[in-house]
Every structure is written in C-alpha cells, then in structure tokens.
Symmetry: C2
Amino acid sequence: MSLTSSLPSSVDVTALVAGLPDGCVIVDPSRMDAYRHDRARDPGAGTPLAVVRATTTEDVQVAVRFAVEHGLSIVPRGAGSGLSGGSSAIDGCLVISMERMRAIEIDPVTRTAVVEPGAFNAEVKAAAAEHGLWYPPDPSSFEFCSIGGNVATNAGGLCCVKYGVTTDYVLGLTVVLADGKAVKLGGARLKDVAGLSLTKLFVGSEGTLGIITRIVLRLIPAQRAPSTLVASFGSLDSAIQAVLDITRRMRPSMLEFMDKASINAVEDLTKMGLDRSAEGMLIIQSDEPEVYAATEIAEIAEMCEANGATEVFSTDDPETGEAFVVARRMAIPAIERKGSLLLEDVGVPLPQLGALCRGMEAISSAHDVTIAVIAHAGDGNTHPLIVFDPMDADEAARAQLAYGEVMDLAIALGGTITGEHGVGRLKKGWLPDYLGPDVLDLNHKIKNALDPSGIFNPGAVLEHDPSRRE
Amino acid sequence: MSLTSSLPSSVDVTALVAGLPDGCVIVDPSRMDAYRHDRARDPGAGTPLAVVRATTTEDVQVAVRFAVEHGLSIVPRGAGSGLSGGSSAIDGCLVISMERMRAIEIDPVTRTAVVEPGAFNAEVKAAAAEHGLWYPPDPSSFEFCSIGGNVATNAGGLCCVKYGVTTDYVLGLTVVLADGKAVKLGGARLKDVAGLSLTKLFVGSEGTLGIITRIVLRLIPAQRAPSTLVASFGSLDSAIQAVLDITRRMRPSMLEFMDKASINAVEDLTKMGLDRSAEGMLIIQSDEPEVYAATEIAEIAEMCEANGATEVFSTDDPETGEAFVVARRMAIPAIERKGSLLLEDVGVPLPQLGALCRGMEAISSAHDVTIAVIAHAGDGNTHPLIVFDPMDADEAARAQLAYGEVMDLAIALGGTITGEHGVGRLKKGWLPDYLGPDVLDLNHKIKNALDPSGIFNPGAVLEHDPSRRE
C-alpha cells in the first residue's frame, strides 16, 4: 500500500527543469528511490514525480509555484534522518530536498548563526565552536541530521534537560509559503514582539505550513568540559527515584537512562564492560565550573548511593565521560541489530516516569515483545524501542499493538506521544486522542489558513481536513 | 476622540451578572474608570459596557459567550501596566480583568509553576524562590505587572541578555477561544512536539487570539548573587563600543545602558552620586560562580577602560550592586517627572546600536524635543523616552513626529518597533512598515482563523481586516 493521492499521475516537468539551475531536478526512478523514505522506513511511502534539490530560496519558490500550478503535493526533506515518517514521499508529489543548501554564517557580536536548512547539526556546532560559541540542541543523530529537520520537528537531544530544545534557539526564519511567496520572520534580535509569534509557529510544523529556507539561530558561549557520572541500579524503581531526587535539587547538563535490554545491546556491540546485570543505568553530566562540577557530581553520587546504586563511577576526564555518552547514543543502532524497530518518543511529567516505565513492562509482557527503553530521563522523555522480527507476521502485529498502547499509556499519564521526533505519518493516528477535538480543530484552522489547498506535506501530522475547501 | 465601535450601545447585562459569582461584574462608571487605560494612558481609550473580574476559567468562558451572543468586543486586562495601549478599553466593550485570578503552585520536581494570569511577576519569583527556584524574566515593572500580561506581550527585562524572554519559559497555557471553549495547550513537559506550536503562538499575541487563564512556566535553579560593575563614559560611541566588545567575548547576566539625560533625571531623584557629566553609563552584572564572576568583571573593567571609561566601579556586594539596578529601573519614573512621555521600545541587531543612538540624537535635534535613552544594551533593545509638555501643543506635536521617526529609523536599521512592550494600539500604525505586506497578511490569516468575528481586543496590534467576514 502506498500513500495515494488523487493528483494527476503524469505532469510534464520540462518547465520545472528549465526554471531551475542545472542538476536540480531528478526524475530518474532509481535515483529518486533514496528520497522516498526517511529513517522510519515508512512502508506506505510513495514515489515522487520529481525531486528538486534546491540551491536557493528562489529555487524553492519556483518549485512551489510549479506545484501550485499543477496541483502537486510537496514533501519537504532535510537529511532524511526523521524517525516518524514526516518525509515519506507521496505518489506523484514533488520532493523538495534541502541537501544542497548548507551555508553557515556565524556573527560573534550578535552571537547568532544564519544557516541554510540542509546544513547538518554537527556542522553548525563546529562553525559556532570556531568562534568560541555553542549551538546546544543535540539529537543523537546530530552528525547526520539537518538543522532544517531539527527546526521542522523542534528537535531535542541530551542537553535539553539544562539547555532547552530547538525552538529556544530559533530567532528567525525565511519561509516559502503556499502561494510561493518568501517571507522573513524574526531576525538576529533576542527581543521582538511586533506582530504574532510566527517564527515559533513554524518551528515544529513538520513541513505542513511552508518550507523553511533560512534559519537565524541564537548561540551561547562554549560549554565547559563536563564531568561525568555513571550509576548502575539493581531495580528500575531505584534508578527512577534517583532521577527524581536529582531533578528536584539540581540541574545537571545531561541525565540519561538506559534499561537492561539497552545496556546489553550496547555491551554486545562495544564490549566496554557495562554491567549486564543492571536493571537501569544513569549517565549524568555536570558542566558547572571545576569545583562546582565536582561538588555537583559528588552530591549526585550520594543520591544514587542513597537509592541503592550497585555501582557508581565518576570522572572529570571529558574523553572518558564521552565514551559513555557515545554508548548511550549507540543504543538505537545497537538495538536495531536485534530486529526491526518501532521507535517511540513518549514523554510524561517527571513524577509519572516510574508509572510509564512500569506500564511499558506490562505492555511488553502482554504482547510478548521486547521493549528496550532509553530515556532523556531528566525531562521525562523516553524512547521505548519495540523490537520485532519482520519475517514473523504475528510478532510484527503484536509489536504494532504495543506501539499504539505505549502512546495510549503516555496520554493517560498526562504525557505526550512525541517529545522531539515529531508526529510525521506514523503517530498521526494518535494525535486526535492526545490533543482532543478542540485543540485538533485549532491545528486544522491554522493549517487551513496558511495552506488552504493542502499542498505542504499532506498526510503528515494532520489528516486531510474535509472542510478545507468549503 | 474615543475608540468607537458600531456595536450596540446598550446591552442588558443582567444575564451576565446572574451567570457569574457575586461581585464579578462592575457597571458603575466611576469604578470602571480605572479599567479604561493601561500605563500608556491612551487618549483614545473608550468606556466599557461592563468590567468582568473573573475568578476562574469558567467565568471567562461565561463572559466570552455573553460577548459573542451580544456582539460585544472583549478587551482582556492584567495589571494594567502595559506601555502600548494594548488594554485601552473600547466603547461598549467587555473588559475581562484577571486581577482576581492569582493562584501560584510550584512543583519543584518538574521545576514548573502553574500560575493564574493575574499573579504579579514578583509573586511568581517569590513563590519559586521558596523552593530554591527562579523565574528569570524581569521587566522593570516586575513588582506591579501581571504574569498574564507578561505572556501576552512576551515581556523581557534586564536578565534577557543571558536568560532569554518570557516565551522561553512558557511550557503550557489554558486559553479561552472565540467560541467560548477552553483549551489546554502544552504542559509541564520540556519536550512536546505533538501538533503545531500553539502555546508559543499565543505568547505575544496581546489578547488578540484568546484569553489566557492559566500558565505553566519553566523554572530554573536560583540565580547566584551577582557581582556588579558600573562604568561611566565621556562619549556615547565609546560606551557602545564597550558593549560590543563585551558581547563578542562573554555573556554577562545584565548589560544596561543609561544616557546623560537618564543619569541626570535619576540623580535628581536619588542624589546617589552618579556622574552627571557622563554621556553614558553601563551597569553590568555577572552571576557566574565566585572566582569566575571576579574574572569576568575584571575583564569587563579592562574592556571599559580600553574604551576610555572615565570611571569604573565594581562590587561583589549584592546590595551595593542592586542600588545601581534600582537606579536603572527608576529611570522611567524619574524622567516622567520632567513631563509627559512617549515611551519607545525599539530594538536593532547589536552592530546597529550606535547608528540607532546617533540617529535618535539627530531626531531629537530636528524636532527640538528631549529624547532620554535607557537600553537593555546587551540585546540591542532600547527605550528612548520622548519628553514633552502636554500643555504645549506644538511640542506635543513635535514629540509625536519624533516618536514615529524613531520607529522608522529602527526599521531602516533592520530592527523592530517593539522588543518587549508589544504593539498595542500606539505602535499599530508602524507595524505594516515593519512587517511588510506579506507577513502582515500572514498575521491577519492567523487572526481571522482563530477569531473570525474579531471579538478579541479589536484594534490592538492589527487594524480590522475588512476581508474578515467575507
């Protein structure tokens, strides 16, 4: 089954090719294949009419106007590292890829970066670092995800527990709208309240309101080298109680959790000596200045021990500490080796973290599927990874049931179905339950106001609103 | 001249009174007078039909439904400390005042506050401090402005140069919409990307999209006691060059500027010994841990001296430092004693700060009016205060011309007409020039989608859109 559309199946792209620089437009099916999916490998992904690899805002405008003229849908695309099917192609659509728009300019005086959306998160960090500055948001995929995709999903990461999420760093955007006009929103100013907060509205809109072609980011001074603490626990409850004790009293710069299945998957891969018997492991960092970091880490160690940690290790050597952070980042690829994955991104208010984890254990038992859990524990954002054998249809079906029940559980606990990956196409079915009818209706009203024909990423986040063309 | 409306001049409020708790509805003209203006004293303010002092979200819903039924406009109102006429009453409107909705609950585990909109900013800070937590945004009016008004205008303050603005701390909102429904947006979760970023859209919307009745705020650990440096300069240019040198290299927790007129007005009032001959004074704080603050302040002192500061004073005694911050906060009331004020809030990218200040000097000369300047210099946000004698019609007219030209200048320099006070009714005339037609159109599209009949704060921020009822 592919995402179908009632759009014309064949449109002559000659005018599109002629209107864009050489090499921008791909129509060769074998070359287009790489543009059909993101990392979620949505089985419903379709086949585009053409892929436009834009080089400028103007290129994007040309492509949008062509799409409008011919009634085509548009699927915008960054680096294709999305985990929710937000970039799944639609049959007969135009994919607009940002991979060639990668310029980065740093202004150290205003401490801002002006970035094209195709630049990788890691490239922005590196450019900022040349000026002693830092762009904090750090999704685990930071080495291969684009900053445009980060903005489109309001991406998070490991540092958010202290430093916030992508939207906290977005000061301005250039956006191509549904009529092909390009607008500049906000700019290199920390303060600007003239008119509605449109910049922030486009952050997290997953390509459904317009196409972001330029981003003004706030930077902050370089992070200090962190100290790291790793603690193993004999029970899930004690690990989670340690998390709550820590967040109540201090604000570490990282507070990550791995469960037994994740620890073992990573240990299988790395042989770095993680405690395979532990039910939970916390990886915690402090980036306070030297003496203060030492104090903070010592207090955290005490709290872990008071909660019965079986092993506590700490280091102020950044490289040793980074090895554990790498281990944490490696969890998804390590678990991917065990089978196909359904990757969740549910978040709850911190006091519900224990209930969420225990509920997921129950779901795992009930459906007899492995659910490995890694979490940005300090902000209640978990990534349950449901593992299944794709050749085992029954297990795959049970995994799918579990996938839905985990989101239902998060909603019941006052949480969200997605903290940082986006709704995309894979979680769309749960959005109405999460938002409720009134907030869902508000979402449709905004979508319809800005994209009345529904050309931008149709089927992502929101179902088509049948009232749209009334 | 008062803001007129084509609405029925007399509506029977019996049903409204009956539908709300005792004492909620005020119709006595002498008591309503206090609800006609905010601090901008908009001469065009009208007279409301009634004032509703809501006690709950449900009260607000009753009032909104009554307004819808009778075709009344609604002007929401916090503490009335607004500086742009955003809360000017309209003839025959319902004013919905939040002054009685002041509950504050702090959750130290999630480090959030759930706050009703009428609570003062200072009350939220105090409640957070009881748990060792901090709500950073600090408009100069923090002791008498409401948190709801802060959210409505995305208020800033002195700490923003390091800690950001109100929107950076808003995680969730309850909002009463134009059909009387109440919706909950976001919540006590740092990460949530399920659906469009509606929470952030309502921040800074100045009461034009709905009425905020409950706010979930992010808190951070208590600020360390700051060290303070005060530097006087013999020329404006050298003071501004010092600002740019500092922001390029570090991130102080405060970086304020006062010009000669402001210094002298404050000195008239306080006799605290400020240098009356200085052309500019910087008040700078560092809240880094002890040794680091001392280093930062020493480096800042060097940069001020290198730029020819005539006097540099520093102290690590918080009380001594606070006296200078109080002096800075006192600038507006001190200058108010010199005459009536037109209070600006223009901001520019930092490298344009000098051009903005020099341009304002030229405007002051051209129109022969005093323009005193205070500024959140570290983020390029200035508050030129145009002083005039209200009994001198010619001077008042020249002041009004200067008021507009300062905003024109900011726009020409790539800046904004308002950094933290809001557009309200007084700056509305300059918004189209600032936004340009396409972004203005986007603003209208959102407004019309959420408030199709235009009942919420009509005439604030945006002109009525004649296409709205098409």
